[in-house]
Subunit: 358 residues, 2 copies
């Protein structure tokens, strides 16, 4: 006798990227920022850890919401803080998706969305992208029509490309909600405002953002959603009362206040990204032009999986990925390496290793 | 057209206790520990905030699990850390409860369980307690037989009483899971080990514990579940990959390491609890003997609600509660005040105010 719901029993569970707990790794596999957070964050934390840790945090994260709203020209009731973007995505599934409802997302893309649909008992549908990572709007029209939820990372992972607003607006389901997951947007040419929410259909769009990438706070777990207050109010009913703790609220509010620090790091990442992409091409890789803090590449002659394994044996971690059921790929399986943009020294170490391998 | 699931649309959402963000309050409404956490916690946090905050935390919280398991004489795969007990309760609902499944809990008790059932689309059933807060096992047998999940806070809230192991074992549903929510157990005479899990039926019991109460870390958000590894493995499939951040993991591990600090604070709370209970009786309150860090009391002649309001006007916050559909209560509504055990000075201020009111 199983005690679990059948969908939980059936599923395998999401496997996050490897997080070795020992030292000495060149870690380019989970898109962390290689630079530390703003000193203002550490100062704010140093103050917060001597504050009243015995008392519950503000359940609504009011100070953070006011700061984020002010920066974006919105009211605070358009903002929902969460324990990482992961939690906001989970809240969205739980608020909008009933058993059997259709959850659509581009493919190849961030497969966590499939796991979230499975947990919730929804039915996921893959919106097959063209080989150049653009949309085949005609082919996916029916699925969009019937979807409760469409989830789009922009820039996309693993490809790193950025889709235009006009593409996104075609993906708003007429009887559901579009989520634009902007985890990597600070590394792109994308507008950093929330103008998408003011477009036609914008009242059914949710933008999610995170402090894990551009703000160098993956270890602290903090993200936020932006949407019309009616959507935020419903999501708030689903969240735990105290989903964000005193320390992450203090860290995120301080990080938001130091835009210059974040932008300088993002600019460094963009510079290293160009150098990495160019070098990979000279080593025989096909490289998708990236608007993110990672690069997707596939070697013309070598097995991507064995490249990953050889690098790992040298304590260099990148992400090997294999997407099945991609009709235009060899054996219908698209494989490649997703390489996070580390420091210049880390990328030098990677390139030196690759040179000796390929 | 509503975009939300019908159950989300219908529900009101849980209302946590008031958390005033301004100062000057005597705050006795949400069962926080009035004493600060161990200095070892602050030291561990001071180190952690200078660590690699740009990197994701260990998704499994290995160090914490090892420390907690060692203390309890279990293996680490019996332990699941979470973003507060709230998150573990949510994970349990999502792992075990399908649409229409029965979720049972004692009544009057912690009504958050109803909200969690509503969010998940389950059907909650109230297991009516006798006026002395004991179980009417014969009356609830059928509900237990049919439940997927039974949730029991032990000690109970708002009453503060502790149920015996033999009562709990009768509440394990034959086709489901019993959750014993031990948020307040450190303030009781309860065994602090996990022996319940070794009892007959223990393979279908989950114990949840929190660092919010006895360890004085409500502001940090950390709790953990204890259960057979098969149950923990299924719950892990549902959780977000990085549900606990680097700082809360460091804080909780350090707090666990200083048992003497926690025990000394729990002992102080027990002493003040006795004094508070005795004084309330002399002021005309009926007081349930408490095994927790709060006291449930009802005045013999005054309206409990107006007492709450008068206290609030003097910046003293206690929790007024009204439980409807209690057949043995006046107007079928059981009302009372749940008063957290604060410092001696806070309780003196409360008692002085009450003396001048009643």
């Amino acid at each position: 006798m199983t005690l679990f719901r059948p969908n939980i029993d059936r599923m395998a569970g999401y496997m996050p990227g490897e997080q070795p707990q020992d030292g000495g790794w060149v870690k380019l596999n989970t898109n962390e920022n290689p630079y530390p957070p703003s000193p203002r964050v550490v100062d704010a934390l140093a103050e917060a850890i001597r504050g009243p840790l015995n008392l519950y945090p503000d359940p609504l994260g009011t100070k953070f919401r006011e700061a984020a709203a002010k920066q974006l020209g919105l009211e605070p009731d358009w903002v929902l803080p969460a324990n990482g973007s992961d939690e906001n995505l989970t809240l969205i599934l739980r608020a909008f998706v009933d058993t059997g409802d259709i959850v659509a997302y581009p493919y190849p893309s961030y497969i966590l969305y499939e796991t979230l649909a499975e947990i919730q008992g929804g039915e996921f549908r893959r919106l097959l992208l063209k080989p150049d990572w653009s949309w085949d709007h005609a082919a996916i029209r029916d699925t969009i029509q019937n979807a409760r939820l469409v989830l789009i990372p922009n820039p996309n992972s693993p490809s790193g490309n950025l889709w235009r607003t006009e593409d996104l607006l075609k993906l708003v389901p007429p009887r559901g909600v579009l989520v634009v997951d902007e985890a990597y947007a600070d590394f792109s040419d994308a507008s950093r405002d929330a103008g998408l929410l003011q477009q036609p259909g914008g009242e059914r769009i949710i933008i999610t953002r995170t402090f894990s990438k551009s703000y160098s706070l993956a270890g602290v777990r903090f993200g936020f959603a932006l949407a019309h207050p009616d959507l935020i109010a419903g999501m708030r009913k689903v969240k735990d009362s105290y989903n964000c703790d005193r320390l992450s609220l203090a860290a995120a509010t301080a990080a938001l206040d130091d835009q210059a620090w974040m932008q300088a790091n993002a600019e460094r990442v963009r510079g290293t990204r160009t150098r990495l992409s160019d070098a990979l091409k000279t080593l025989g890789f096909a490289v998708v032009p990236s608007q993110s803090n990672f690069v997707w590449c596939t070697h013309s002659t070598r097995e991507n999986k064995s490249l990953y394994e050889t690098l790992k044996s040298r304590k260099i971690l990148v992400r090997y990925m294999a997407f099945r059921n991609v009709p235009y790929a060899q054996d219908e399986t698209l494989t490649g390496l997703r390489i996070s943009v580390g420091t210049d020294a880390e990328i030098d170490a990677l390139l030196a290793a690759l040179k000796s391998i390929v």
